[in-house]
């Protein structure tokens, strides 16, 4: 019985952790779809969001939800800056220079934050005023529950937005053929900015959500981002549903394997899973195999 409970506990943690990956993965996917580029600074979006919360809530002592809103507005502005500073000048180039540019941005952001906020990791308040609930020996942390709920809500919103609005379709069109989109009168620069803004806000939300659990530190985003990226590939490169399922799957695999096999190799399981996927199903769970019509 205890073993069952322990497994359930591990499963819950895995799902919660997985939904953090999923949230960051979603940000990845949006940018991939808009620009065909993997944003290696995606994890740092989460880091920035969390530091925004530290600034507005901890330092300036604004009310929680006001601070939350302010952090997200700051992230939105940052998204525009990021687009014009890191991506836009390189939009006509292949994926590689852009990828390196985002890596450079990651180094820049982490060290800038380090210079401003100092190196000490910082605690952050939970979203709800309760520690969590205990169901028959399984402890459900309130913040983890919030992560699950917010992730589901954001995913649903994103899906509806992309699949059922013309704006969403315009964003997709922009990602598929920029020049054609311009010829149709779609304001491409604006579309890309919107994507970066949305992606930055999503990252910010992820940061504020995980801040209370992993604490707010310079490197907090990098760890999550690599896993989230793995999740996007496992789910199917550039696929929204795939990113979510991939993230959750990765979280669960990691937690269960850590519990049942060995803790120190925890990170290796994620990458092994990725390896296996890449070798045997490179298009991911939901990816379509688009064969080249030569």
């Amino acid at each position: 019985m205890q073993i069952l409970f322990d497994n359930l506990q591990v499963l819950f943690q895995g799902l919660a952790l997985g939904s953090i990956y999923a949230l960051v993965a979603l940000g990845f996917v949006l940018i991939i779809r808009a620009t065909n580029v993997v944003n290696f600074a995606q994890g740092d979006f989460a880091m920035l969001g969390a530091y925004g919360m530290v600034l507005f809530f901890t330092t300036l002592a604004w009310p929680y939800w006001l601070a939350f809103g302010a952090a997200l507005v700051a992230m939105a502005i940052f998204g525009v800056l990021f687009n014009y500073g890191v991506y836009y000048p390189l939009r006509h180039r292949s994926f590689l220079p852009v990828l390196i540019s985002t890596l450079g941005a990651s180094i820049f952001l982490q060290n800038t934050v380090l210079a401003v906020f100092g190196p000490q990791p910082k605690p952050l308040e939970k979203m709800l005023n309760t520690d969590g609930i205990n169901i028959g020996g399984i402890f459900l942390d309130s913040q983890y529950l919030m992560i699950l709920i917010v992730t589901v809500a954001l995913v649903a919103f994103t899906y509806l937005f992309f699949e059922h609005t013309l704006l969403g379709k315009k964003l997709q069109a922009t990602s598929q053929d920029k020049d054609m989109a311009r010829l149709l009168g779609i304001p491409v620069a604006l579309m890309i900015s919107i994507t970066f803004v949305y992606s930055a806000v999503l990252g910010g939300v992820a940061g504020v959500l995980v801040g209370p659990i992993l604490f707010v530190s310079i490197g907090m985003g990098s760890i999550i981002a690599l896993k989230a990226f793995a999740a996007t590939i496992i789910g199917g490169f550039g696929d929204v549903t795939g990113a979510i399922v991939g993230g959750l799957l990765l979280g669960v695999i990691e937690s269960l394997a850590a519990y049942h096999i060995s803790v120190p190799y925890k990170d290796a399981y994620a990458f092994l899973a990725l390896f296996i996927f890449l070798l045997f199903r490179p298009q991911g769970i939901f990816g379509e195999k688009v064969s080249e019509k030569a």
Binding site: L166, A173, D177, A181, R182, L183, I186
Partner: protein, 238 residues
């Protein structure tokens, strides 16, 4: 006043000077075709009109206003719809979505109205109607070309630019396509058509320009040109 006028336009494509002083005009309601060999600068002329390529010298006037320094998005909003070479269908969107996005240059049109117009387009191009929900990349070349024109028409343009619509299409499809182009022109649309298939183009056009290495070498009414010996030999394969 001509609807579109190019005055001595020079432009560069990469490092190559593609246009060397091109002047032409299109009157409202006309179907004008621009003929010439590969690399003569026909596509660059269209790109210069729609803003994808910037003219370095000369001027481009649309309804009397210079659009030389205007970006492609803004030009699309002025009412020029460019159906580029190679169709450029959005591969990951459905046929219907592709058509709907054709109206991106029109502000404030309700979704319902757009859906209705899309249905009308399916009436003009019945070949693609059955594929309404299919993704763009799954269509054949001919179907993609129909879709591209349908999408171009969704812009409700004052001027439609068609670039090599017949390229890579089977003869029968080419005939159907040109029949459709004639039909659209009869409906009152102003069209500037770039073609290599001079034979077909001259059959539907009112006037024609012939281009060689970045300059206009001949122009005149289509039926006159199609009788000229030089043209026959160089472009009509006779």
């Amino acid at each position: 006043m001509a609807l579109l006028e190019l005055r001595n336009v020079t432009s560069h494509y990469g490092n190559v000077q593609a246009l060397k002083g091109v002047s032409l005009h299109v009157e409202a309601g006309e179907l004008v075709t621009l003929l010439g060999a590969n690399g003569a600068g026909k596509s660059t002329t269209l790109k210069t009109i729609s803003g994808l390529v910037q003219a370095t010298e000369g001027d481009v006037l649309f309804e009397g206003q210079s659009i030389k320094r205007t970006g492609p998005e803004a030009i699309a909003r002025l009412g020029i719809s460019h159906v580029p070479e190679g169709r450029r269908i959005f591969p990951g969107l459905t046929v219907r979505e592709n058509i709907l996005l054709g109206a991106s240059n029109r502000k404030g049109v309700p979704r319902k109205q757009l859906e209705k117009e899309a249905d009308e387009k399916f009436e003009i191009f019945p070949e693609i109607k059955p594929f309404s929900g299919a993704l763009g990349w799954t269509l054949s070349g001919g179907q993609q070309q129909m879709l591209a024109v349908a999408r171009g028409l969704m812009a409700k343009p004052k001027l439609l630019l068609l670039d090599e619509p017949s390229l890579g299409l089977a003869p029968l499809i080419v005939q159907n396509l040109f029949a459709t182009i004639r039909q659209i022109r009869t409906g009152g649309m102003t069209i500037l058509l770039v073609e290599q298939n001079a034979n077909m183009a001259l059959q539907v056009a009112d006037r024609a320009y012939v281009m060689e290495t970045g300059v206009i070498v001949t122009s005149g009414p289509a039926d006159e040109l199609s009788q000229t010996e030089d043209i026959k030999r160089a472009y009509l394969g006779g």
